[in-house]
Subunit: 216 residues, 2 copies
Amino acid sequence: MVESFCSFDSAHNHLLSDSFMEEANSESLSSYLSIFDFTRNYRFLLQFTVFDNFQAVAEDKDNKFLMKAVKEAYKAVESGDGDPFGAVVVYKDEIVVSCHNMISKHTDPTAHAEVVAIREACKKLNQIELSDCEMYASCEPCAMCFAAIQYSKFKRLVYGVKVEAAIAVGIDALISDALRGTGSFQKVELKIKKADGDAAVIAEQVFENTKAKFTC
Amino acid sequence: MVESFCSFDSAHNHLLSDSFMEEANSESLSSYLSIFDFTRNYRFLLQFTVFDNFQAVAEDKDNKFLMKAVKEAYKAVESGDGDPFGAVVVYKDEIVVSCHNMISKHTDPTAHAEVVAIREACKKLNQIELSDCEMYASCEPCAMCFAAIQYSKFKRLVYGVKVEAAIAVGIDALISDALRGTGSFQKVELKIKKADGDAAVIAEQVFENTKAKFTC
């Protein structure tokens, strides 16, 4: 199945259309079902069916939502809104929001697909935490998005492709491998100063002076 | 000067008002100037004056803008908009935007002061990069904000207080020490999965298929 997908895509080598994505999804499901035809042992079949159904449903769910995130990634580029990244927020197996990178459209370097999706989902659900939700991202999130996902308290993150694929096509300047605890911040020219004047002393007192009122 | 600031604040132990901040700022300037009264050697004085003036101007500039960021941090809590963090974007020694944490006001866990400031500054200047700008943050930026600052290509970041001060008052769940290259992501309960279904294979092809068009 995976192989046929690869060959299909390499043969065509074009942007994946909506109809292709739908076809791919139904093919995926029938592939999971047809495997039972080759199983002869009934007891094994029964066990296998229960296990495989569970796996198939889970995988199909992940496949379905990740496919949607991938479609968003293409949409970002096709529309000119931004770079090829998509993200979907799911609550109880239903899509809450489906978003793509909007850095160009919003003139906002923070408008990555995941951040846009978080903002939109929080707005839609009128809540600041998405602890009952899952995030599907077409690509392994960068440091900014990964932190944003954690701030939002998602229960689960599923991503499609590792950052190395983005790096391979030139998106390497600021990608930080947040999941592995390493970063590429040192690649960036940025002078950083811990202030040492009076304002720095006053800044020290902010948390102590406000802790009775702040919300964290 | 720093000591008198500390004792003033500890004696009053209240939120710093606008008038106090202005008083502090003018005191700060006169303190920098009065130091020349105690210098007797003319040549040393001359050298010292040139060097110290340069330092004083630079420090005073940093002090002034950082003070503004600190005021924003207080404003965040006083207004109920969010947590005690402030950020100011400066272009050619002029404030472009002055913002505070808006997570409560915007129901948006990504609306940290620095991210809000970046969005607002980009909108105001109608550009996606802030490479001629400086960022002043009341506190050492978290991983999300630090990445956002780097995506925006700021030339300089000045921050007032280290994250440890935030951690000391309970803001510790998600603070990542981005500047030191370490993180505290492991503290968070988040299941992460690199997908392995068909959609993951399709996700692999996104960058290759769009690289002629994307903007990174």
